[in-house]
């Protein structure tokens, strides 16, 4: 995996709230779209803070969920690519 740093685009806002159950959302604050997330997607997106590189994010993510590493890597890369394609995550950071 490339050693790049990614961050959530400024067009998006992540939200986690404890109501009767815990709710996870991704909001597009420019066009108003709302995406209901699951916990895994939320945790992964939240790790892209514009400081850690993708390798570090994967290590933390793998520690959180402790799945089979190769399978997790494939899923991680796929999700990362989807979010990059949709410009939810952008390259760069601090």
């Amino acid at each position: 995996m490339e050693n790049k740093v990614y961050a959530l685009s400024s067009s998006y806002s992540l939200f986690k709230g404890e109501f009767n159950d815990i709710k996870y959302y991704l909001f597009n604050i420019e066009d108003g779209s709302i995406y209901r997330l699951n916990e895994v997607s939320y945790d992964m997106l939240a790790l892209f803070d514009g400081k850690r590189d993708a390798n570090k994010v994967f290590t933390l993510f793998n520690d959180m969920y402790q799945g089979e590493k190769d399978t997790m890597m494939i899923d991680f890369k796929n999700l990362l690519q989807t979010w990059l394609d949709k410009e939810i995550l952008i390259t760069g950071g601090e």
């Binding site: 806002s13 939200f15 404890e18 009767n20 604050i29 420019e30 066009d31 108003g32």
Partner: protein
């Protein structure tokens, strides 16, 4: 026609499009009255931003146009109503007014708008002595004449009665007045004190409020049997009188307030600026405001509200909690439970 399913899918905007007012009511939530009006382009921007939001959310809009006093800016008022009347995303339009500047000429202009479903006139006493000490000399007669004129033109007219210490003994008489005037509905809303002075002068104790609400409820049962007047009891605390009435406040869930300069508040009486429609838009505020997310989370309520068995149908007034207790998540200070 009232459509319950459509109402469930409504989003409510209260837009104070003008700040100018011809009255100086003692309990007014405004602290200035002389700001320049927005240009037509900027007003249109606000209207279109609301429209785009409704389109995205697949909601039907209900809008109340108010001020200040909306009839101090008749030309803009008519233009805005025309915009919302023509918009497929807005279902119902209302005007909130003090009723003193309404004449035949404006009534004729307004009568052509099919979606103008309600004109609410503020009446704070059943006679000039009580009303005018709150709203200014001569305002009672003007407002009553305004109501009569609107009824002549066939509008659905409601009265807003802001309840506080100075008029608490007159509320049943105002219901009678509403009936005499052929008004369609009356809302009795507790005042939100905006200062320590307001609390001292206007705030009604929970015990007194309980007594007043009981009287109003008994009056409602009688009046609604014998006339078409509706006495609205859908606000917080009413469920303490009868568990089948009352309601959770829509603030944070299905409503927003926009001031004349584009500032967005959760509610006109909960004066916490969340942002500005020109710089932030609606989405950013609606999705990221900590204030709104806290209000949406009933688990975060404190005091009596937190464990209350009636919470689902009440929740107290967040604005009064904020103004009296200093926290918008605090218990409603007028709750007698």
């Amino acid at each position: 026609m009232y459509d319950a399913k459509a109402v469930e899918n409504e989003f409510y905007f209260q837009w104070h499009f003008v700040v100018k007012c011809n009255l100086r009511c003692i309990h007014c939530y405004q602290n200035h009255y002389n700001t320049n009006e927005l240009s037509r382009e900027k007003m249109l921007f606000i209207a279109e931003t609301m429209e785009n939001t409704l389109k995205k959310w697949r909601k039907i809009g209900r809008i109340s146009l108010t001020g200040g006093e909306p009839f101090t800016s008749k030309s803009n008022l008519v233009d805005l109503i025309e915009f919302f009347d023509n918009s497929e995303y807005f279902g119902r339009i209302g005007i909130l007014t003090n009723g003193t500047l309404i004449d035949d000429s404006i009534a004729i202009k307004l009568a052509r708008f099919g979606k103008l479903s309600e004109i609410q006139v503020s009446i704070d006493g059943s006679n000039a002595r009580i009303h005018d000490q709150i709203r200014g000399t001569g305002s009672f007669l003007q407002a009553v004449n305004g109501i009569k004129l609107l009824k002549r033109y066939g509008f659905y007219v409601s009265i807003m009665f802001t309840l506080h210490k100075l008029n608490q003994n007159d509320v049943l008489n105002v219901i009678d007045l509403a009936n005499e005037l052929g008004v369609d509905a009356i809302t009795i809303e507790r005042v939100t004190p905006m200062s320590e002075n307001d609390i001292e002068k206007l705030f009604i104790s929970p015990e007194n409020l309980h007594e007043i609400y009981n009287k109003i409820y008994h009056k409602k049962e009688k009046v609604e049997k014998n006339s078409d007047l509706k006495i609205r009891v859908s606000r917080p605390l009413w469920t303490l009188i009868n568990e089948d009435i009352g309601g959770f406040c829509p603030v944070g869930f299905t409503s927003l307030c926009i001031l004349h300069d584009g500032t967005i508040l959760p509610c006109r009486r909960l004066e916490i600026p969340l942002g500005n429609i020109f710089s932030d838009g609606i989405y950013k505020i609606w999705y990221t405001s900590d204030v709104l997310w806290q209000i949406r989370n009933k688990k975060l309520l404190t005091g009596k509200c937190k464990e209350c068995t009636l919470l689902q149908n009440c929740g107290g007034c967040r604005a009064i909690a904020y103004s009296v207790n200093g926290s918008y998540m605090a218990e409603d200070p007028q709750c007698w439970k």
